[in-house]
Amino acid sequence: MENIVKNSSRRQFLQSSVALSTAAVGGLVIGVSIPAIAKTATAKDGVKTSQPNAWVKIGSDNKVTIICHRVEMGQGTYTSMPMLVAEELEVDLNAVNVEIAPANPVYINALLGGQLTGGSTSVRDAWEGLRVAGAQARMMLISAAAAEWKIPETDCRAEMGQVIAKSGKKMFYGELAEKASTLPVPKTPTLKDPKSFKIVGKPVKRLDTPAKVTGKAQFGLDVELPGMLIASLAQCPTLGGKPMSVDDVKAKAMPGVIAVVKIDDGVAVVAKTFWQAKTARDALNITWDNGVGAKLSTASISQGLKDALAKPAASVKKTGDAEKAIAGAAKKLEASYELPFLAHATMEPMNFTADVRADGCDLYGPTQFPQMAEGVAMQITGFPKEKVNVHTTFLGGGFGRRIDVDFIVQAVQISKAVGKPVKLIWTREDDMAHDFYRPVSLNTLSAGLDAAGKPVGMKFRLTSQSVTARLFPPVVKDGLDPFMTEAAVTPYNIANMTVESAIHDSGVRVGYWRSVSHALNAFANESFTDEMALAANKDPLEFRMSLLEGAEGARYRNVLKIATDKAGYKAGGKLGNGRFQGIAIMEGYGTYVAQVAEISVTNGTPKVHRMTVAVDCGMMVNPDIVKAQIESSVAYGLSAALLSKITFKDGKVEQSNFHDYPVLRMSEMPRVDVHLVASSEKPGGIGEPIVATTGPSVANAVFNATGKRIRKLPIQADDLNKA
């Protein structure tokens, strides 16, 4: 895993993305060949499959398969990745097979330095590389046809899975693929002008929908192998606790039980069916070593954050002298914002299937990080890379949870112990109690305004926990985790600005959670922007516009104008009909967002009626999937803003299922109006940014409705009634 770690610093991200664009623009070959895989293989039915490069397989039966190297967790990669290849390959998108890629270095995400799906990087990373892959395969097929017909390549074109000569002669790709795969990979693939795209940029139908409306789509939970057993694992209810001893006499005597296995994280019952495994697991009598985690409570964690305010912080940005500017300002204000732990709560609870045999190991299931799955299996089994195969299924949600591989380690350990294929299935309660939680944060801001209400200085100190310090420690340098400081620096033109970041370990294990620190920092920044506007006696829209002048503010101003125009925004967010609006803006993942929440408040409970979202995410692969991701992000962000939090008592998570960890439901879903900016800017990410702007847009609307400032989420009726 070392290369992942080494390659995943923010600086490396930039270098990699530059290298990638140079490769495509300059025509250099990027790594698209897979040396380890035979160029042509013959199946039992006699069909020969040839593979001109790592993304394209063509059968002698003319069946084209596109390898999707980013996992599908709802965000649409199963469609958008093949669209990019198919555009240049000149095939009918609806006739191609799609296969999820195995773990192989050729599929590494250059923006993250690993074969990892996350960080809203898939389209940004693949935009050029996958078109290059499609174009190279197309050119090799054309070369093969030209050689066959003994005519110049320039007299041939590719169309709908065929090469067609000027004379009208035609050959199907399936007839050319074997020859084409032996040809040299073109060093200067010619990419289409985006103006001539037939697939990319169009709202084509998702390729996974038919399987997902018939129950046929295979998730991790659905993996079936001959002789497979099911495992249910008891883990210590206290954070980080380990099993000391177990009395399994009763469990072992129960029907269907094959084995009881003690592993690092707990005690697993392996049985023929899930219900047998789960019932017997509940009959185990385990003595736990609770460890140091037993002392943690929500109050002690919150106090820890407050104490950490005295700790030194690393500088994120410093222009001018904010301290001095604020001290001399006509008006001063200060505020702190505190956010809770959150669970990912994917609909599909954690699970994985491992088949550890004497001759190798196969893994099946939902993971965002196939390369890490392969790595941990190699470590546990001692097998070399070529004996470990990762078969990634559809993911029933990811949201960052499935970047971690704890449940994969467990499945491999259990399968190794029993020598059989084992599907480990967590219960919802397991999933809620053993997440890697979205970190807590305590963000403190202060500002000074001049007599005219113009901000002259601003300070932002963020205090939170670093996920990166756990997962990729070398990326954290000089006290700075680049993921923790996302959206910490606002676009607003304030002459004297200090932004500082302090890493505080809360003692709770934390993970990347959809939009990561954007959600923590944008909530503070965009709420405080409204607080500054109030202090300046200006409307929040007018106040923002006045601080977004010049070329740098152009994309922000554009989306802000569109969102507020379309929402029918009125001064102070007061619509005059019992409805109130709030604004939030942000840039994240290269995407510019402006969002207007429209709410009413009854008995201290806000109801969100409408979300108007204007987005400039540059060029798009599939605008309908972009739209779906925005709708999705609003829902995910609203769960966090209105409903969900994880709390601790005596080191145990107090929530266990959807009754005490409420999430947004149909009746609470507002209407979402999306406005996409037509753009020729390079693609931005879309899976996450709107999660971050949803919270502050609602909190600002609540203030406009009630005069009560929300500085904690989720918004609780109690807080609104008493505040």
Binding site: T214, G215, A217, I230, W275, S632, V663, M666
Partner: protein, 157 residues
């Protein structure tokens, strides 16, 4: 041995009587389209029809299904030709897709009883089905479309 009828076929299942229908369907009949989400009837991912009524199969014991008719997602239309599935396809409702079998089973049950559901009817019938991808807006539109109403009829803002 519990005898019941699943998707029009008589089946006998050799499992403990307290086994939830969900796990009997999945582990014994290998009907994997019905999903486990919470085990407490809180999320709706496991929704199937019992004698035509939507039930949460994670919290319905196998013994309670003896002699009854069960319909799962596999029994609606294998090829996705049911009007609800067709509307789902037309509007590209699913994202991760995990909850969608349950969403569709709840929607089919709603439309069987109420040919032209209002937004409030949809809220009442569908709020037991959690979707963490937040496909609710499209679920609503697809139900309207399957009911022969304009799919553009998004919730009144």
């Amino acid at each position: 041995m519990t005898k019941l009828n699943v998707n029009g076929k008589a089946v006998s299942i050799d499992a403990a009587p307290d086994t939830p229908l969900l796990w009997a369907l999945r582990d014994h009949l290998k009907l994997n389209g019905t999903k486990y989400g919470c085990g407490m009837a809180l999320c709706g991912a496991c929704t199937v029809h019992l004698n035509g009524e939507p039930v949460r199969s994670c919290s319905t014991s196998l013994s309670a299904c003896a002699g009854k008719n069960i319909t799962t997602i596999e029994g609606i239309s294998d090829k996705g030709l049911h009007p609800v599935q067709q509307a789902w396809i037309a509007l590209d409702v699913p994202q991760c897709g995990y909850c969608q079998s349950g969403q569709i089973m709840s929607a089919v049950a709603l439309l069987n009883k109420n040919k032209k559901p209002s937004d409030a009817d949809i809220d009442a019938a569908m709020s037991g089905n959690v979707c963490r991808c937040g496909t609710y807006q499209r679920v609503r539109a697809a139900i309207h479309q399957a009911a022969g109403q304009p799919a553009t009829q998004a919730r009144e803002a």
